[in-house]
């Protein structure tokens, strides 16, 4: 199935004891605009709410401590079905742009995100992607390698009528992107293991499951891989640039990074005990 499952396991076994932090001189490029606009519609809540923040940042050198915010940008969303405009503002001057009047992205509507920053205009479009509620989230008793992992058992019912892609956020920057290719239409269940380094139990964690596009799935799979959060070592895929779905309409060559995406998201908060 996905490399993401296999490689970390091989790696942990062999290499976990022979890693060390080293000093490396890394190359540098002029800062790029980062547009991180992953909207989430919490469809299983009553009433339905949404997270519609557009985070604008500037890329930094790899070992810089701070990723600077991109301030004074003009940000707005156009509903392409009726050409209505939703304006965003950065009230806290921290680069997090929020709609002036809160809104819930509608079904089957394409939204165009426009960002004007430093006299250059960036655009991208997205349509809300359907998801499915989590059927159950429970803590299991199994462990994986070290014997100290915490098992999380997840189940949900996949929609048989279409190709689905899901993104799981297990908190602490632990993400998992999966596709329904091997379980289309099934009551699917799988286990996720938190290593003791990833999560200290007992604690409460909030699990998020989002429906995503195929393109965002491909993008995020590589993103997780390149973030190094659950892999590493010589079996790592050769890294490459990761372009999202926003384009610079003023100056094509100065492409931005990041992604504009709208998903349906279900959340579940579970208290994990220390079973070891």
């Amino acid at each position: 199935m996905k490399k993401i499952y296999i490689l970390p396991i091989l790696l942990m076994f062999f290499f976990s004891n022979c890693e060390k932090v080293v000093d490396v001189d890394v190359p540098s490029i002029p800062p790029k605009l980062i547009i991180d606009a992953s909207f989430e519609v919490f469809f299983d809540e009553n009433p339905v709410t949404a997270n519609t923040v557009v985070k604008l940042r500037l890329s930094a050198d790899y070992f810089d401590d701070v990723i600077p915010a991109a301030l004074n940008a003009t940000v707005f969303l156009t509903n392409l079905s009726d050409n209505s405009v939703i304006n965003f503002s950065d009230t806290n001057a921290d680069g997090d742009y929020e709609p002036i009047n809160s809104f819930i992205p509608a079904d089957n509507v394409t939204y165009e995100l426009t960002v004007i920053y430093d006299n250059e205009t960036y655009k991208g479009t997205a349509t809300k992607i359907k998801s499915t509620p989590l059927t159950s989230v429970t803590q299991g008793d199994e462990t994986l390698f070290s014997g100290n992992e915490t098992e999380l058992k997840i189940s949900f019912k996949d929609d048989a009528n279409e190709e689905n892609y899901y993104l799981f956020d297990f908190t602490n920057n632990l993400f998992l992107a999966i596709e329904d290719r091997f379980f289309n239409g099934a009551d699917y269940n799988f286990s996720y293991f938190y290593s003791e380094d990833d999560l200290k139990v007992p604690t409460a964690v909030k699990i998020k499951m989002s429906g995503i596009t195929k393109e965002y799935f491909t993008y995020f799979r590589v993103l997780i891989n390149q973030s190094g959060q659950n892999a590493g070592g010589p079996f790592e895929t050769v890294p490459s640039s990761l372009l999202g779905n926003m384009i610079n309409t003023t100056n094509e060559e100065n492409f931005p990074l990041g992604y504009f995406h709208i998903s349906e998201t279900d959340t579940y908060t579970i208290f994990l005990e220390d079973k070891n």
């Binding site: 396991i9 290499f15 060390k20 190359p27 994986l144 190094g228 890294p239």
Partner: protein, 792 residues
């Protein structure tokens, strides 16, 4: 040149040479007198005629000389030579049995003759290793290893400790043809590359061809690693074995019918996992391999060999994760002498490689593999003492299983899926001449014709405009096309067919009795591609055949060398330069997922590669102190341009380093025989660090910190240089003398000064400090070892 003309020309040549003065042919087989094992590469030399030959892979020789009274000298490294007077008036068959040498004074003379022959033969770019050399080289955990040994030779590097495969002259790991008793071996490593799959006790002879590859080999571009196993002692029953820290070996061999037929069965298994339960650990990791052989010598003209190899790796973490892979080889060979000048070998070979994975916590099992059936018929025709012809045919039928997913428990929710099997047939015919033009000039020239036919399969994907990869102008990236449909074919349908003529040419010119220059050119075609986009190959990697979307790889290699034997063969110097040009080397679009991908053509871009370099090998062959110094200066690059002006390709279409581009590669191997009791051995290796990619910046998406990699500087950075020093000492107890039980202890220290060599450097955010870090992974620190070897 038109190939049919070329062949006609060859035969014309042959016919001319036939009708000269009255001649006689002497042929036979050379054996080791102790075991009756045939010996490969033994020099059969007529000093008065200054002519000679060497025994082939089955110990056979044939030489034609004018009638007369001559001295014949049979010599082989490590054996006492035989000098006999022969009165040759009629054709004779004469077998020789060589006695293993203890200490003899005439040894120097003999070996200098061997060196002279090596200087004369046009074959260049070839390195030989014997089982004895391999066993002496210090290795990690005391496990002697062919692959780790050949890395000490010039032009050979590895992707590092814990990486499968090896790289020859800047070629990829999938470009090595590895033959075990003529059978193709697809995966050469155990435990992800820590150990090789070849049991050193069973090995008789190892040859590595890096260039000037003779026409009888084909199907891979960069090298041929030709390994022959022992046939088994047909005189007496023998047990050989060794006990090491990681694994133990046992080899039993003996006659079935004395001097006619013998068997050999050898096994090797690791056992570290047996101790794991003691530590309350239910993980498991082990490997084993089993070699068995039977041969029967019907008469002087007919010989039958049956051999098998089974090797497997199992690596599991409780029941949650089980990873299994291995090779199987079954091989039946028949040697037949049609006449005293015409030797033939017919081989029927089955070999496969499988990879299996069970992930219980996700609820599935994954199986993939490659299977092939190979029929080979090779002839060696010793026409006269200046002309030998090799010709033959080779047909391989290959079935590829790119993968199958099977739910492993009833409640898994995973649905079975079978990736579409692929089928192909590879046929080749070759003719190759070894031709001595004069005392100084010897040529080897030949031609191989190869045809690859991709056979019909179920559900072949069809794409709009026949484009499986599309370039998205808007987002400036390559994307996989979605198939517009599928076509199904019957097995006998031809989906694609490729023909290649592969000329081979080598020349040696003797400058003096002690030095020669050699030139060679070879063209090779490779129809199989190992799909891998990780920094180092892994056992998961799947082989894919050429077809409608993936073109066959093709290589042209030129090499030139200067060879010198110094002080009558005490020292030898081999220097070579090479240039390689490779067409249709594949690379992958950004973010390509190669695992369980049924549409692999949608992530592949075709490109080219080149490599060039200089190799120097200085050897000391004689005395208590022996060894070699190998140095290679080289460059290996590839280029994947856009398919049209609107596309950038990879790295903006510019040349970039291959992952195995190592500028400097130095290895030093030395052995010193202090006394009958103690022998010391040492290695030093230095390699330029492996090309890698460092991030040019960072950003965050959904709170996840991600490094930015720049496509315009692919493989532009390098890991720190790799170097280490190893030593070993072999103790042969004195009480061995006149005793049946022979034993030795090998003590070793790998990486003596504890260099933390980087296998990789990865970039990630520290969970605690939230600061970005560069993490270096290294595999081995100092590793001491002890091995006990025995024989009785």
């Amino acid at each position: 040149m038109n190939p049919s003309k070329y062949i006609a020309f060859l035969f014309l040549f042959v016919a001319q040479i036939f009708f000269s003065q009255e001649k006689v042919t002497i042929n036979g087989t050379v054996y080791d007198n102790n075991s009756n094992e045939t010996l490969i590469g033994v020099s059969v030399y007529f000093p008065e005629l200054k002519t000679g030959t060497t025994t082939n892979e089955y110990g056979f020789y044939s030489i034609t000389v004018p009638k007369g009274n001559y001295k014949i000298q049979i010599s082989y490294l490590g054996f006492k030579s035989i000098i006999e007077n022969l009165n040759l008036t009629v054709n004779v068959t004469k077998n020789f049995k060589l006695e293993e040498e203890t200490e003899s004074l005439d040894e120097i003379i003999i070996e200098s003759d061997i060196e002279k022959l090596n200087i004369k033969t046009p074959q260049m770019s070839v390195n030989k290793l014997t089982s004895a050399t391999i066993k002496q080289i210090p290795v990690v955990l005391g496990e002697s290893d062919i692959i780790k040994s050949i890395i000490l030779l010039p032009g050979v590097t590895s992707a590092g400790e814990g990486a499968s495969g090896f790289n020859v002259r800047g070629g990829a790991a999938d470009q090595n043809l590895i033959l075990l008793d003529e059978a193709i071996v697809f995966n050469s490593s155990h435990v992800f590359g820590f150990f090789s799959v070849f049991n050193p006790d069973v090995i008789k002879d190892v040859k590595l061809y890096k260039g000037g590859i003779p026409a009888r080999y084909g199907g891979r571009l960069s090298s041929v690693l030709d390994i022959y196993q022992k046939e088994g002692n047909s005189k007496e029953f023998k047990l050989t074995g060794g006990i090491g820290l990681v694994s133990s070996r046992l080899l039993a061999e003996g006659p079935i019918e004395k001097e006619k037929s013998s068997f050999l069965i050898g096994g090797r298994a690791s056992y570290a996992h047996l101790f794991l339960p003691l530590f309350d650990n239910d993980n498991t990791a082990y490997f084993y391999d089993l070699n068995s052989k039977v041969n029967y010598r019907f008469n002087e003209k007919n010989n039958l060999f049956l051999s098998t190899y089974f090797g497997k790796d199992v690596f599991g973490i409780s029941d949650n994760f089980v990873n299994k892979y291995g090779n199987n080889v079954l091989n039946l060979r028949w040697n037949h002498l049609f006449s005293d000048k015409l030797f033939s070998n017919l081989s029927l070979i089955y070999s496969d490689y499988f990879y299996g994975l069970t992930l219980d916590f996700v609820g599935f099992e994954w199986d993939s593999g490659i299977t092939n059936f190979n029929l080979k018929y090779d002839f060696k025709h010793y026409l006269n003492n200046t002309f030998t012809l090799n010709y033959g045919i080779n047909n391989i039928y290959i079935k590829f299983n790119p993968g199958e997913i099977i739910p492993n428990r009833p409640d898994s929710g995973i649905q079975p899926e079978k990736l579409i099997d692929k089928y192909a047939n590879e046929f080749a015919a070759y003719i190759d001449a070894e031709h001595r033009i004069s005392d100084k000039l010897t040529l080897q020239y030949g031609l191989r014709f190869s045809n690859f036919t991709r056979l019909g399969q179920d559900e072949l994907n069809v794409y709009a405009n026949n484009e499986a990869v599309i370039y998205n102008q808007q987002f400036k990236k390559y994307e996989s096309a979605t198939p517009t449909g599928t076509e199904s074919f019957s097995r006998s349908d031809v989906l694609a067919s490729f023909n290649n003529f592969e000329p081979r040419f080598s020349l040696s010119y003797l400058l003096s009795d002690e030095s020669s220059v050699k030139l060679s050119y070879n063209r090779m075609a490779q129809y199989l591609h190992l799909l891998s986009n990780t920094a180092s190959p892994t056992p998961l990697d799947v082989w894919a055949p050429s077809g409608r979307f993936i073109k066959p790889q093709q290589l042209d290699q030129f090499a030139a060398g200067y060879f010198k034997s110094i002080k009558g063969g005490d020292y030898s110097l081999e220097t070579e330069v090479f240039y390689k040009d490779i067409q249709n080397r594949i690379d992958y679009i950004n973010g390509a997922n190669l695992i369980a991908n049924n549409e692999i053509e949608t992530v592949i871009l075709n490109g080219q590669a080149r490599a060039y370099g200089l190799e120097v090998l200085l050897k000391k062959n004689e005395g208590n102190f022996k060894g070699w110094l190998a140095y290679t200066l080289s460059r290996s690059e590839q280029q994947t341009p856009g398919r049209n002006a609107n596309e950038p390709g990879i790295n903006q279409g510019k040349w970039y380093s291959t992952p195995f581009n190592k500028t400097h590669d130095l290895s030093l191997n030395a052995s010193y025989e202090l006394s009958k009791k103690w022998t010391f051995n040492a290695n030093f290796l230095f390699q330029t660090g492996q090309p890698t990619n460092y991030p040019v910046g960072q950003y965050e998406v959904q709170g996840l910190n991600v490094p930015i990699f720049d496509d315009d500087r692919r493989n532009a950075d390098r890991l720190p240089a790799y170097h280490r020093f190893d030593i070993s000492a072999t103790l042969t107890p004195e009480k061995n003398k006149n005793r049946k039980w022979q034993a030795e202890w090998v003590f070793g220290i790998y990486n003596l000064y504890g260099r933390q060599n980087a296998a990789s450097i990865n970039f990630r955010q520290n969970r605690e400090t939230l600061r970005n870090e560069a993490i270096q992974t290294s595999i081995f620190g100092i590793v001491p070892s002890v091995t006990y070897n025995f024989k009785f």
